[in-house]
Every structure is written in structure tokens, then in C-alpha cells.
């Protein structure tokens, strides 16, 4: 319960900041003004300005947008591809399961970074290529979790009971397996979301993701790294934002898992 509230609050805060940034930011986050370079924290600029004189708070808000956008698409791609693959691998014929496992290993062995570089070389590095690279790299972990969880569900007596009731394999997958692995997949999603946030920051930091002038937490870090000694604030602010986002998503995932399990809802103790 605590983790649900805390995680929800952190994620909610980020979502709110991102949504608000569509309507209003203190300043234009891309507005360069040499006169305002490296301002400290004051009433006009809550988090100061960077070395181009851009308002850090505004950049952070718009950066949240980028972060959520990348996370959403990357995790969405991974879940939409990985989950059916995993279920298929678990319930389909044996060779299919083996095939999925091998392809999984192949993708896992292929560094996401290399994929990002290749995509960047082919289509020009952008938020889009970063998203796809992160998404593809996350597919195997979803497929794996889904397959393992589904195999376990498939050995239960309630699946046997469903078969003896005359249910077809597809119906069993949808009615029994999916709901019973959903909790795990939600946890997996939020953990992956955290990893995606980190990965986006890293790719942008390396110049393989979001391109200027679109603000991104990773690029904020990169642009200020030389100023670490002089103006630590410029590194700490995006760093803390990334850390809180990762923490928020993993707490949310934990909380959701507990919440989604009917067995854990406090409903008396009639049948232990």
C-alpha cells in the first residue's frame, strides 16, 4: 500500500509536469540568452539556468515529456510483442517454444547500443530510433517472463479443469493464463519503464537519442558534465529526476502487483 502511494505520487508528479509543459512552462526551454548564463537558484529561475542561459526548470518539465514518451512507446512495443510471443512459446508446440527461446537469446546477445547506433546511422539518431532500439531490446525480457509464468500456470489443475470443460487452447490462454500472469507483466512493465528511462538518458547522453533543441534529461546531463565541479546543480537536477522516475516506476509496479491480486485484498479469512 505504501509503495503504491509513494510510487503513484512520484509517477503522478512526473506525468503532471509533462502534461503541464504542453500548456505552460516558466520560460521557453529552448530560449538561449547569453545574459542569463549560469544563473543560480532565485525567484525568477527556480532551478537556475544552464550555460546557454536556458531555464532549467522549464527544460526539466519538457524533458519529462520526452522521458514518458520514450518509456511508453518502448515498453508498449516490448509488451505487445513480447507477451504474445511468450504465451505462444509456452502453450504452442515444443519446437515453437524452442525457436522463441533461441531468437530471444539472439536478441539479448545483440547490444541495444549497437542497435541504436545502426538505427541512428540508417535513419538519423532521434527520439524515435532510441525508442525502437530500447523497445526491441526489452522484448526478450517480456517474452521470457511471460513464457515462464505461463508455463507455470499451464501446469495448474484449473487449466486442466478448463480443458476438461472443453475450452480450446486460445481461450485458455486468454481466460486463464493472461489474467494470472498479468500481475507479473505489470511489474515487469514498470521495471522496464525504469530501465527505458535510464536507457533513453544514456542514449541521449551519447548523442544517439533525442537531438537538440528538444530537451531531454539525458542531454541535460551531457551538456553540463564539464560543469560538474563549478555548477553541480546542473548535473544533480536531471540526475535526481532520472533516479526518482526509476524509483517511482518500480514502487508503482510493486504496489500494483499487490493490488491486482484478489487473494491479497483484505477480504476476511473465510478460506485460508
Amino acid at each position: 500500500m505504501r509503495s503504491l502511494v509513494l510510487g503513484g505520487a512520484l509517477v503522478g508528479l512526473i506525468v503532471l509536469a509533462a502534461l503541464l509543459s504542453f500548456l505552460w512552462t516558466p520560460y521557453d526551454p529552448t530560449l538561449v540568452d547569453a545574459a542569463l548564463r549560469l544563473r543560480g537558484v532565485d525567484w525568477a529561475h527556480w532551478l537556475g539556468t544552464d550555460r546557454f542561459g536556458r531555464d532549467v526548470a522549464s527544460q526539466l518539465m519538457v524533458g519529462a515529456r520526452t522521458t514518458l514518451y520514450v518509456g511508453l512507446v518502448a515498453v508498449g512495443v516490448a509488451a505487445l510483442v513480447g507477451t504474445p510471443l511468450g504465451l505462444l512459446a509456452a502453450s504452442g508446440p515444443r519446437w515453437l517454444g524452442e525457436l522463441v527461446a533461441r531468437v530471444n537469446d539472439l536478441v539479448l546477445a545483440f547490444p541495444a547500443l549497437l542497435l541504436a547506433i545502426m538505427l541512428g546511422a540508417g535513419f538519423g539518431a532521434s527520439t524515435g530510433t532510441a525508442m525502437i532500439a530500447i523497445g526491441v531490446a526489452t522484448v526478450p525480457s517480456f517474452a521470457r517472463v511471460a513464457r515462464a509464468a505461463a508455463m507455470q500456470v499451464l501446469t495448474t489443475e484449473y487449466v486442466l479443469a478448463a480443458r476438461s470443460a472443453g475450452r480450446r487452447p486460445l481461450a485458455i490462454s486468454v481466460r486463464h493464463v493472461l489474467p494470472n500472469v498479468a500481475g507479473l507483466l505489470i511489474v515487469q512493465s514498470s521495471v522496464s519503464f525504469g530501465i527505458a528511462v535510464l536507457a533513453e538518458a544514456a542514449l541521449s547522453f551519447l548523442g544517439l537519442g533525442t537531438q537538440p533543441p528538444t530537451p531531454s534529461w539525458g542531454r541535460m546531463l551531457q551538456e553540463s558534465q564539464e560543469l560538474l565541479a563549478v555548477q553541480p546543480r546542473l548535473v544533480v537536477v536531471p540526475g535526481v529526476a532520472i533516479a526518482l522516475a526509476v524509483l517511482g516506476f518500480s514502487l508503482l509496479g510493486d504496489g500494483l502487483r499487490d493490488r491486482l491480486d484478489p487473494r491479497l485484498k483484505g477480504v476476511g479469512d473465510a478460506g485460508r
Partner: protein, 269 residues
Amino acid sequence: MIVAEELSRSYRRPRSTPFGPRPQVRALHEVSFEVVAGQRFGVVGESGSGKSTLVRLLAGLDSPSSGAVRFDGQLVSGRRQRDLDFLRSRLQVVFQDPMGSLDPRMRVADIIAEPLVAQRIPGRAERVAEVLAAVGLPASAADRYPHQFSGGQRQRICLARALAPRPQVLIADEPVSALDVSVRAQVLNLLSDLVDRYSLTLVFVSHDLSVVRHVCDTVAVLKSGQLVELGAVEQVYRRPRHPYTRQLVRAVPTLRGALAGITAADLTP
């Protein structure tokens, strides 16, 4: 009604070493018998003797390595799932673990309606209410989840699901082994009532011969996958011919026996 012909089923165990052979387990070996309509057919044997394996084969949930299962003259074994619709509506199973055989994420109403949905039988809501009443559960049970019930109530839910499509044959795999004595009495009574009321043919599996004796008229004794004795239950109980059956009879502690001075040592061979 149900005929088992020389049924065998082996499982392959996973290799214990990377390149070693995969050991085979003979879970069932050349078992033959016939269950006639209206019979209450018991199957006893210790853990691992192949009882659940036999149940899965009879219900067409698994295929034998060799041999055949026939239901009303039609071949069950070796058919594809979708060709077994005739069996699904006429034969239903109650499984060993009353919690494990109920999907924790489904409401009781959906659980009970599952065979009806799968077989596209109309009039679901009424039928669910009917069978809930038949197994002695309140109508309000329909909206709750399995974990909100006690072990005995869960087994009633399983019975309700099995009865929903109006089967002619009910197979019960150790339906009372996980229950304590007073609940066991309730569930056994209920089972007898239902078998009478709906004129069901019953296949009843247990490791406890005294329970089988109460419920069944005929019994088959399984030992390590082989049928070692088959006959009228009173006959088998009173004059077991196979030494293994004798051991099974003897292993059941009874109040009368204990009070007459039988000790734990007397229960073992």
C-alpha cells in the same frame, strides 16, 4: 460406458546429467477394466501409483503411450482436443486440489459457467444458480472469489462446475483427501446425493480404501501403475487377495481398531 484397454503411459524424466539418458517412468502399465453405466467405480493406490494419470487418460486430457480408452463405444484416446466435444459434455472431472483447480482470478459464477461457455450451452445464469443450490452454496457465492471459501466449500464449487453441463459420468480424483473429517462427511454425503439424484456413473479415486468402501460398489487397486486387484468393494475389503491390497486395508487406522489395541506398528507390514 468407459472401457480401458491395456492402457499404458510412460513419462520421460528430464535428464539428470547433460548427456545422460532420459529415464522413463512407467506411470501406468497395461491397465484394463470396464465401468458400466450407473456403477460407482473406485480406484485406490498409494501416492505415485498412477491414479491421477489414469484419470487424465479417461477424461481425454492426456494420450496413452499405448492402449485405448473408449467412451460409449467411441474412441477417446489419441483424438484431437476438438474432436472430444462429445466427451466434454458427458463426462466431467473433479480434481484433487480444491484450491488448485479453481482459477484464483475468476469469480465463482464464471468458474461454474466455464463448461457451459466452452460448449455453448444456453441458459447460463439459471444453470449456475441451479447447481449452486444443488451443492448447498448460497446464491451470493456466485460473485465471490475462490479464496473467500473454506476447503469444503471450494470442493462444492468444483462439484457445481462439474455438474453444470449435466454430465452422465463424474470422475472425482481424491475429492476429500485435503479435507478434515467433518467436512469430508459433508462432501461425501453431497456426492452420494448428487450421484443418486442425477443418476451419475461415478469413478472415485482415493488412497484410502475405507473411503472408497463407503462410496463405491466396485474397486480397482493400482500398484506402481499396474492393476493388481479388481472386484466388488466388500469382497476386496474383507478378503483382499493381493498382498498389496492387504497392506492397504491394514494401513488405514480406525477408531475401533485403535481402541481394540492396534498400534502404529500394526499398521505397517
